[in-house]
Amino acid sequence: MAASTATQRIIAAALSLACGVFACGMRDASAAGIHSQQSATAPAPTPADPAAQTTANKRATKLVTDETGRRMAIPLNVQRVVSLAPNLTETIYALGLDAKLAGDTTYCDIPLAAKEKPHVGAPQNPSLEAIVALHPDLVLATTSINRAETADALLKIGVPVYTSDPHTITGMLGATALMADLLGASEQGATLVAQLQKRLDALHAALQDQPMAHVLFVVWEDPLISIGQNTFIADALRWAGAESIIVANQNWPQVSMEEVVRLQPEYIVLTADHLAAETHEHVHNLRDRPTWRELRAVELGHVVMASEEFTRPSPGLVGAIESLAHELHPDAFAPKAENRKVKIEAGELLYAAAALTESALNSAKGCGTCAR
């Protein structure tokens, strides 16, 4: 018994000694962190070349508060940006600043060139090391897909992370202008935002006399997940002259089919690639599925595909809104009716033929809207 007590003491002492040594190491670590902040302007003793360049760029900075309330110093002359979300990558391309994009995520696929950039992982769990390895002056994140932990961890080691938090289309435009400012491209930003705003205003004018279409927006089919009122998608739907039938406080509520049957949406909006053939397939798919086929909207073929861009708060969203508005309210755009819509009902064939003739006439006249 006595021997074992002695053993216990020895081991306890060894354990605490080991941890003491470790704790010293950590103190040095945190001291090094503070030291590094103070000597940010001094050239580092042993950095690799790109790191030295980054240090030089970091000299002139401005204090910025992002849309989540985090404060950080961002270089005035940002040269290397890492985007942590597809919509941010898309915005950078829309601003024509892709030369500054040092890296993006494995989800970034619009435009296709974004796939060629170095990837730092998926938006929710990127490799922080891979981000640091790209020597960014600035990392861009968004609350709609990234985790707060990622931004916190990067800020902690001195990498500025600007997080945007758009809940509306106006908010998206504001965020776009802000991003342009941060990247030193205020003019491009102002031009782009003005263009988008003009298109939105035109859309608003065209839809003024149209009744709101009541739609079921399908984020995920099985289980059925729709949208809440505070999402930018709900706002995008309003711009397209539509209203989600689902009333929920959650952003991505799971909805029962029973509720959908009760609410009987006028249109069902699905999201996917812009292939018209798929719309056709989807309508058929829904007609094969039990509860779905009894919905009036499915019977009438009122199933609309919104482009994938509809789920991304980026400049491309405005185009997606326009397309959806054309699908839901063809009358409002009667003189230049859509020719891409796939008609399923026999009764609508006549209308489709008329629309085709119309568009043929229009394209002969070189109508820009239809060509798009």
Partner: protein
């Protein structure tokens, strides 16, 4: 089996510590950011003599890799030690922090903090710890029968508490929105990527390791008595062991260790169950050896699992909890089959 001398304990622990050291070196070396061994040594040396610089090397080493390794060691050691403690306490090989509902209690606390105070720094850790402590108290209260801590009743109370709390968590998951939901999902999978909640990294880890030393040390003082209790509570009582006191110490210590681990890393499964069993298969059932070997073994497993998690699908990272379950089960089955033969 050879008699357990202090020399043998130190030899075995030294060997395991050497393996842990190798794993730590590997973990420091590999990652998405390429750093040579020489640069690691130089950076560590500069940091150690207070001559740190602002290079990306020190950002990666001191800002990302070391804190993660430190957290991995702590979490692995705490979970395994508490698993060993619960297994002795309940004399049940299936006992571990998860079975007893402690992890679910911590998870519920974390979730409530995300709903009530989503942006408060450190709120998740504090709430998780309170949740773990409250669950422990409730299970302890329910697990007593006739004033005695009854193993079977305690286990049942734990299992019931775990499923009840899980049901509440599922209900609350439908109320959490957007970013909070994502944080929660990763937290429930076990995740070491969250940064320390304070600027004072040293103070934070000092606090965590201090709590670990106190709780693990308290459990270690009972190890001789635990050996006797494992042969039978009555016999141990006849030999002069205060069975009630020992059980209380082990119960509280194991619970504190679980709360500690879960509050900083979320719910990481398997480690608390598997590591003590593996150590028993390798080194025997003596708790004087089992507690320290479980602690070091758990640290090895978590650091290794996290290193794999951030490299095998790089640049994306796998949560460490997914890795431990993925790698833990086959290893355990292999050892079990080998022992049967």
């Amino acid at each position: 089996m050879r008699p357990l001398t202090p020399r043998r304990i130190l030899a075995i622990c030294g060997m395991l510590a050497a393996i842990l050291f190798v794993v730590v070196v590997i973990s420091l070396r590999v990652g998405a950011y390429p750093i040579s061994m020489r640069d690691i040594v130089v950076t560590l040396y500069n940091g150690a003599v207070g001559n740190g610089d602002s290079s990306e090397f020190s950002q990666v080493i001191f800002g990302l890799r070391l804190p993660r390794i430190a957290l991995g060691i702590l979490v692995g050691a705490a979970l395994s030690t508490s698993g060993a403690g619960f297994q002795a306490l309940l004399r049940n090989p299936l006992a571990d922090p998860f079975v007893l509902g402690v992890s679910s209690g911590a998870a519920l606390g974390a979730m409530l903090s995300l709903i009530i105070a989503p942006h408060t720094v450190g709120a998740i850790q504090l709430a998780a710890f309170i949740g773990a402590a409250a669950t422990i108290a409730a299970v302890y209260f329910l697990g007593r029968r006739g004033g005695q801590l009854d193993s079977a009743t305690l286990l049942l109370a734990g299992i019931i508490a775990a499923s009840f709390l899980s049901a509440i968590i599922i209900f609350l998951l439908t109320l959490v929105n957007g970013p909070g939901l994502r944080s929660m999902t990763f937290w429930l999978m076990g995740d070491l990527t969250a940064p320390p909640p304070t600027q004072n990294v040293l103070g934070w880890f000092g606090f965590l390791y201090f709590v670990f030393i106190v709780a693990a040390g308290a459990m270690y003082t009972t190890s001789s008595d635990l050996n006797l209790i494992l042969t039978g509570e009555q016999e141990a009582g006849h030999l002069g062991v205060n069975v009630t006191r020992v059980k209380l110490v082990v119960y509280v210590a194991a619970s504190v260790l679980t709360g500690l681990a879960v509050s900083v890393s979320g719910t990481i499964g398997y480690v608390g169950l598997l590591v003590p069993h593996v150590m028993r298969m390798l080194f025997g059932t003596d708790y004087r050896l089992l507690i320290p070997t479980s602690a070091i073994g758990g640290a090895i497993v978590i650091v290794l699992a996290d290193t794999l998690g951030r490299t095998i699908v790089a640049p994306t990272e796998l949560p460490v909890g997914a890795m431990t379950a993925l790698a833990g089960a086959p290893v355990f089955i292999y050892l079990m089959r080998r022992r049967i033969r």
